[in-house]
């Protein structure tokens, strides 16, 4: 990110280029600059976006400070009271504990489970997006800058992969990894395998966008000038071209986060994701699904609502960011 800041004049994020120089001296000015920007204006005048941002922020805070916020520690077997199992929402269990969202079959507090589950979901989503972004941006830069057969090979692979649904690709990679990792390590490795599976299924978007922008940028004067004075291609790519594509990458990444969270939930719901000992929102929904027929709706509904709220908020934020950063829509 250091690279992108030093080149901030070219970045689409900075709408008021004239003030950029001043802000580097005074932090107060920088804050002022943010509140004075077009982006802040468009943000603060869209109530839905503000609401989405607040909800997303709350989820992030809850996930980070889970041990402080959650009333119970749901995944320490020793702390559970089985006799409180299936306590309905807003009721007291037999042990005298109170449960806002009720408890599941093992007497786990559903509210605490959601907080800890969101932590896993966000962690997996975040890391998967980061992984997909690094991979996709790098390959896109190389493909766009080098062109020729390198471009053809990378983009044909991307096309082939794009013809399969992402979840299928993730399932395939997950299955392969499971077959290769010895059984004893599977439980511990599951989360990393999940991150890599989702990441690998999602890099194409980044590669395509970055490649397109790179092909345009590489013929601009500043790139040619850099080339003339003998800057190495890698430096040109990462110091000069990359900052110009970051805007659109950021938009894809935000929407990608919502998709990755949903992909993780889907995999976990199918029972191939994170193990029940460290459940994510998807795992919680799967566990609760077994009790829908018998009327214990709260075990699955609350994690379901949490997942919808999280994915929807992040998605709306991504949508807004895309519009705000698109100069044609201004």
């Amino acid at each position: 990110m250091g690279a992108s800041q030093s080149n901030s004049q070219q970045g689409p994020l900075n709408s008021r280029q004239g003030q950029a120089g001043a802000s580097e001296e005074a932090p107060h000015g920088r804050l002022h600059r943010i509140f004075d920007s077009d982006i802040w204006h468009s943000f603060s005048h869209s109530p839905i976006t503000v609401l989405s941002a607040i909800i997303t922020l709350l989820f992030f805070l809850a996930a980070i400070f889970a041990p402080l916020i959650a009333p119970y520690t749901p995944f320490q077997a020793g702390s559970l009271h089985l006799m409180d199992g299936f306590t309905p929402p807003f009721e007291q269990g037999m042990s005298g504990n109170f449960y806002v969202f009720g408890t599941d079959d093992q007497g786990r507090d559903v509210f605490s489970a959601i907080i800890y589950g969101a932590r896993i979901s966000l962690l997996v989503g975040f890391c998967a997006v980061l992984f997909a972004m690094v991979l996709g941006v790098t390959l896109g830069l190389i493909a766009g800058y080098r062109g020729g057969w390198v471009d053809t090979v990378i983009m044909r692979i991307a096309d082939v992969q794009l013809s399969f649904p992402a979840i299928l690709v993730a399932l395939l990679i997950f299955g392969l990894a499971k077959a290769m990792i010895p059984r004893d390590y599977q439980e511990n490795m599951a989360i990393y395998v999940l991150i890599i599976s989702i990441g690998l299924s999602d890099w194409v978007q980044y590669a395509r966008t970055v490649r397109g922008t790179t092909m345009v940028e590489k013929n601009r004067e500043y790139v040619q000038a850099a080339r003339v004075i003998g800057v190495r291609p890698a430096v040109i790519l990462f110091r000069h071209v990359l900052p110009n594509v970051m805007g659109s990458v950021l938009v894809i990444a935000t929407i990608g986060l919502a998709l990755a969270i949903i992909a993780e939930a889907t995999l976990s719901f199918l029972g191939v994701g994170v193990p029940p000992t460290t459940p994510s929102l998807g795992t919680l929904i799967r566990i609760g699904n077994d009790f829908l027929f018998s009327g214990e709706w709260w075990i699955t509904i609350f994690p379901g609502i949490a997942l919808i709220m999280l994915a929807l908020s992040v998605n709306l934020l991504g949508d807004w960011l895309r519009d705000a950063l698109n100069p044609k829509l201004r």
């Binding site: 089985l82 199992g85 699904n289 077994d290 027929f293 018998s294």
Partner: protein, 527 residues
Amino acid sequence: MQSRKLLMSLVLGSGLAVASAAQAETLRWASQGDALTLDPHAQNEGPTNTMSLHLHDPLVMRDNDMAIEPGLATSWEAVEETVWEFEIREGVTFHDGSDFTAEDVAFSLNRAGTEPSDFRNYISSIEEVEVVDDTTVHIHTSGPNPILPQQLTQISMMSKAWAEENDVETAQDYASGEENYAVRNAMGTGPYKLESREGDVRTVLVRNDDYWGMDRFPMEVERIVYTPISSDSTRVAALLSGELDFVLDPPVQDLERLEEEGDINIEQGEENRTIFLGLNLREEDSEYDNVEGENPMADKSVREAMYHAIDADTIQRVVMRGRSVPTGTIAPPFINGYPEELDERLAFDQERARELLADAGYEDGFEVTLHCPNDRYINDEAICQAVAGMLGQVGVTVDLNSQTRSLHFQDIGNRETGFYLLGWGVPTFDSEYVFNYLYHTDDGQRGSWNATGFSNDRMDELVQQMGTEVDEERRNEMIAEAWELAQSELVYIPIHLQVLNWATREGVTVPLRADNQPHIATATFND
């Protein structure tokens, strides 16, 4: 001759057509897990035996009330102290049309009795199977064995010629993961023939119209489509939507709902099976706990503490929704020698548990891995989670390793576990079967499911004696003494007796059996 054949086939054909028009009936049957293998002697395990016994027949059968009745043997008697004579049913053919003879009996019993067959404990008393003539065999036992016929009810008779042709003269070595031809194919004399087999997906059986028991059993079901569905809610949804006719193990949390549905019947009864925890008793260090240099569970007071920590009544109320019977012994009450006066649980007492652990030097507790199946017994994984929670409260941290039952049983078979959940049914309806498999020293012949390492000379002596004792009173005294010993050593921590809930669609009757092994030949359609 030619015309007679033609006429015959016409008559037969039209007869079949009438029959199929009247009752072209398919039974769509689901359960949470599949048969582990089709090799009839590889795994002695409920769903696997159930499948085997539809494709094959045993010499001696049990009817739906668990009474002994003739199977492929028409009669049997002890002709000498150590010799049983079995008369073999005549005119029986295998599914490929070849004749079933005494040679096949001898072959099958030998196959089932030698390693790596999982049935060798059943018939460990058999020394030799002598073919007297085509329809008579003499079974020589190492000593007098009064319960030999009861021990033969789960042993499938398979075709010797077929086994030789396909190179499956010995049973599949299941624990090592071996594959052989018999894993996916079968050649028996049973009421149903194998049409297709996709492991863990779908197994289709069709009625054997040449079955010797066509007149004896209703045989109304023409086709069995068996679909394992591991997800509880999917299984229930399929039953409710009419995609299934019979669910062997509907989830307990949904029974109330199912009972309210007008077109679904639930047959309920106690199963001849207990669910319990096995503990590794060996002195040497175990790799499945975090204690270095010793095995905490080798100390009896640690086992006692763990027993005190488990609240079986809460498991019954919450996990099983009242559909189980907490028990103090791993002997089901159905069996001969059931120690009624010993069937009392150690009280649920966390204080006492902590005290005992502290006295044994584990005031800070220890960590141990619990191996658990997640698709074998009713709510097995939930039981293990509950146990993990309860032990956690007294300081024993439990890492749960729950997995599909094929892997779970491999771990037990390979003794790669220090703490595990197991359920045990008793098809012989006699205590000796429990002692033989679960308490006798693991010596390669007996004790094959004794993964605890429990080894007691007196127990071994009693088990061997009760295998050959003909005097019933003296034999029952031995059984009583063995139960006394078993209970006092706390080798296993009993949890409960499983309760069966078979769900069928209205119009289908599958008679309930205490061994949880449906006999589809006796199923009927009443619409």
